[in-house]
């Protein structure tokens, strides 16, 4: 076995003994059974939220973006807050699939597919905001440099907003390609399971004639490694560039060199929180507790502790530098953040982002899905407020006290934001139904991880009962719970 060099102290990644066939069966099961009323209920809700959001967007495009709560002082608020919020969420997927791949973190295998899908959906939601903000979204192509009849008036390559166009579109394209390349072998697996029909024909086209040839696998591994190598700096560059939208301006509170690393850490922080939110529900609903194990959740909470720490450090540094710089405007901006009219938003941010992640130092909390779920929501709220605080509090009291103002979002802005959640969950719910949400090929390759080679020969029969197993052949991990039954399309009513 290729895994034999592993230390006996290693814990298997797939906590239940499974054969390759059982794994295929399990991961394909949700796609092959009819959805239950619960799925339909969730889907109906998501679609109606999406529909409402679409209506609101149509209204504001028809009326003009004067329906927003912006004013002369606060020219950027909800729209860009939500844009940065969604882009940040979109960072975890590529981080999991690319950076953890380069670090050979094999536990990533069972969460990377879903996390990447989440990334794509989050970036779609993010991209909507600047397009809506253009006011005339049908002219969105004007942001691209193409020869035109306006004297060939080019886009301004010195503007961070244009860098954003390139960063986000490249990020979306490369993430989508990375995701699809990862899907090809699994699409072939699904294709080979299907009987003739429309679905089979679709998967036949999508799987591009994949045969499982190792000559192809060998090249595939090279391509995957290259894409991971390319996506790693890419994911770091995207939020760096987003942060430059602010950092290259001269507004106190924005004009800081700390922004790129601070934003990237914040993005990973919020992204992992969102992955946890989704995965904790998914693993229970689909019966994947042995594939997306407590250890996966625990590892992600550790990433949250680290990135949360970086974010806290950034908050502290900003404050310190504001004082240390001796610049009165800079000092005022930060004092106003913490004690001005938006202090409530600032302290929500501090509570959610600085205090709450430290609860993960407790093993009890780190291994309790309910607690992690609650905290992941708290962190998502906190990260939304972080962007709101940075954007609105820096703008609302600028250099001229006569133009000081306050900002309140209108129902249109709130509705648009909620609508993007509708889009996000609609896409995610569809994804869960139509594609294998766990990378079958990759999980198979770690099935033997930290297991004796003889063990999968006697992997457990496909029954509901937990069969009596010979404890002496077990690896070091003590089994506290009875083995999980295999989630096939028949026996789990989902």
């Amino acid at each position: 076995m290729s895994q034999q060099h592993l230390s006996p102290l290693r814990v298997p990644l797939v906590t239940e003994p499974r054969t390759l066939g059982q794994l295929t069966e399990e991961i394909c099961a949700p796609m092959e059974r009819a959805p239950t009323w619960k799925w339909w209920a969730a889907f109906a809700m998501a679609v109606s939220v999406l529909g409402t959001g679409a209506g609101i967007v149509a209204y504001q495009v028809g009326t003009g973006i004067g329906v927003w709560g912006l004013n002369k002082t606060i020219g950027w608020a909800f729209d860009i807050t939500n844009f940065v919020f969604w882009v940040g969420i979109g960072h975890a997927g590529t981080l999991i699939s690319a950076i953890l791949f380069l670090f050979r973190q094999k536990w990533r295998t069972s969460i990377n597919r879903a996390a990447e899908a989440m990334t794509l959906f989050a970036v779609m939601c993010a991209a909507l905001f600047p397009v809506i903000h253009m006011g005339r979204p049908w002219l969105a192509f004007w942001v691209l440099p193409y020869p035109n009849t306006r004297g060939s008036l080019w886009v301004n390559f010195r503007s961070p907003l244009l860098w954003d166009v390139f960063a986000i579109s490249t990020y979306f394209t490369v993430s989508a390609v990375f995701w699809y390349v990862g899907l090809i072998p699994d699409l072939a697996t699904v294709r080979d399971r299907l009987k003739a029909g429309v679905k089979k024909a679709v998967f036949k086209v999508l799987s591009l004639g994949w045969t499982g040839s190792h000559r192809t696998w060998s090249r595939y591994e090279t391509v995957y490694l290259l894409l991971a190598g390319l996506a790693t700096p890419l994911v770091l560059s995207v939020h760096t560039i987003v942060s430059m939208d602010f950092a290259t301006s001269v507004i106190p509170g924005w004009h800081t060199t700390i922004f790129p690393p601070y934003f990237v850490a914040g993005a990973v922080f919020s992204g992992f929180a969102m992955v946890l939110t989704l995965m904790i529900i998914t693993r229970v609903v689909l019966g994947y507790e042995h594939l997306i194990t407590l250890r996966h959740l625990e590892n992600m909470t550790k990433v949250i502790i680290v990135t949360g720490g970086i974010v806290s450090l950034a908050y502290a540094t900003e404050f310190f530098i504001a004082w240390y710089s001796g610049n009165p405007y800079e000092r005022f901006a930060f004092m106003n953040r913490a004690f001005g009219p938006y202090a409530w938003a600032y302290w929500i941010m501090v509570t959610c982002n600085v205090v709450s992640p430290h609860l993960f130092w407790f093993k009890k909390i780190r291994t309790s899905p309910v607690a992690i779920f609650a905290l992941s929501l708290v962190i998502n709220v906190g990260m939304w407020f972080e962007r709101f605080v940075i954007i609105v509090t820096s703008l609302h009291r600028d250099f001229l006290p006569s133009s000081w103002s306050m900002y309140t979002p209108t129902m249109v802005e709130v509705g648009t934001f909620i609508g993007t959640f509708g889009l996000f969950f609609t896409l995610f719910l569809l994804f869960v139904r139509v594609l294998p949400i766990i990378s079958i090929g990759e999980v198979k390759s770690v099935l033997g991880f930290a297991r004796s080679p003889h063990e999968h020969a006697e992997a457990h029969p496909p029954t509901h009962q937990a069969p009596e197993r010979d404890v002496s052949t077990e690896p070091a991990s003590p089994r506290l719970h009875p083995p999980l039954a295999i989630a096939t399309r028949k026996d789990v009513p989902v």
Binding site: G209, G212, H214, W217, Y220, L226, L230
Partner: protein, 173 residues
């Protein structure tokens, strides 16, 4: 190819690795190994050379980088120079973010395209898959050789390494 190929099916990664090594050592013409996932160590067992796709990636990245810089220089310096506060038209540092993004974009898309072309993966592919190799089986395919003795020897070798099934097929690979 008139003579049929010999296919041996295996159930475990370890067996297929050993069998592949043995097939090559015995001097049979190993056509391919089919696996449900990327088996590590099989590259060496099959004697595959490292892929040259890395060069495609490097070249395409370089091309993307050059094109991005040229585009920005042309638009900002040659085609429509804009004087902003007396700053230089060729504001090179400001061009780096877009250059980086386009480098990555070109490299990624070209690498994947080259991979699909090289591995002959395209929609509407008529290639047949061996039973269960995308699910839970491994298959070793040995190209036919002239003498029936060598075919028998190959069959014997596969069986000794734990093949659970054998097949002779007349297929265009």
């Amino acid at each position: 190819m008139s003579a049929p190929v010999l296919i041996g099916y295996f159930e475990h990664e370890a067996q297929v690795l050993d069998a592949t090594r043995a097939v090559r050592e015995a001097g049979h013409d190993l056509r391919d190994v089919y696996t449900p996932y990327a088996v590590h160590g099989l590259d060496a067992a099959m004697g595959l050379k490292p892929s040259r796709l890395t060069w495609v990636c490097f070249g395409a990245g370089l091309l993307g980088c050059t094109l991005a810089l040229s585009l920005q220089l042309y638009t900002s310096v040659v085609s429509w120079p804009l004087n902003v506060g007396g700053k230089p038209f060729n504001s090179f540092p400001a061009f780096i973010p877009v250059t980086f993004e386009l480098t990555v974009l070109f490299a990624a898309l070209s690498t994947v395209a080259a991979f699909l072309v090289r591995a002959r993966l395209f929609p509407g592919n008529k290639r047949q898959t061996l039973p269960r190799v995308t699910d839970d089986r491994f298959a070793i395919v040995i190209a036919p050789s002239q003498s029936p003795e060598s075919l028998e020897a190959a069959e014997d070798l596969l069986r000794r390494h734990g093949a659970v099934a054998m097949d002779l097929r007349e297929v265009a690979p």
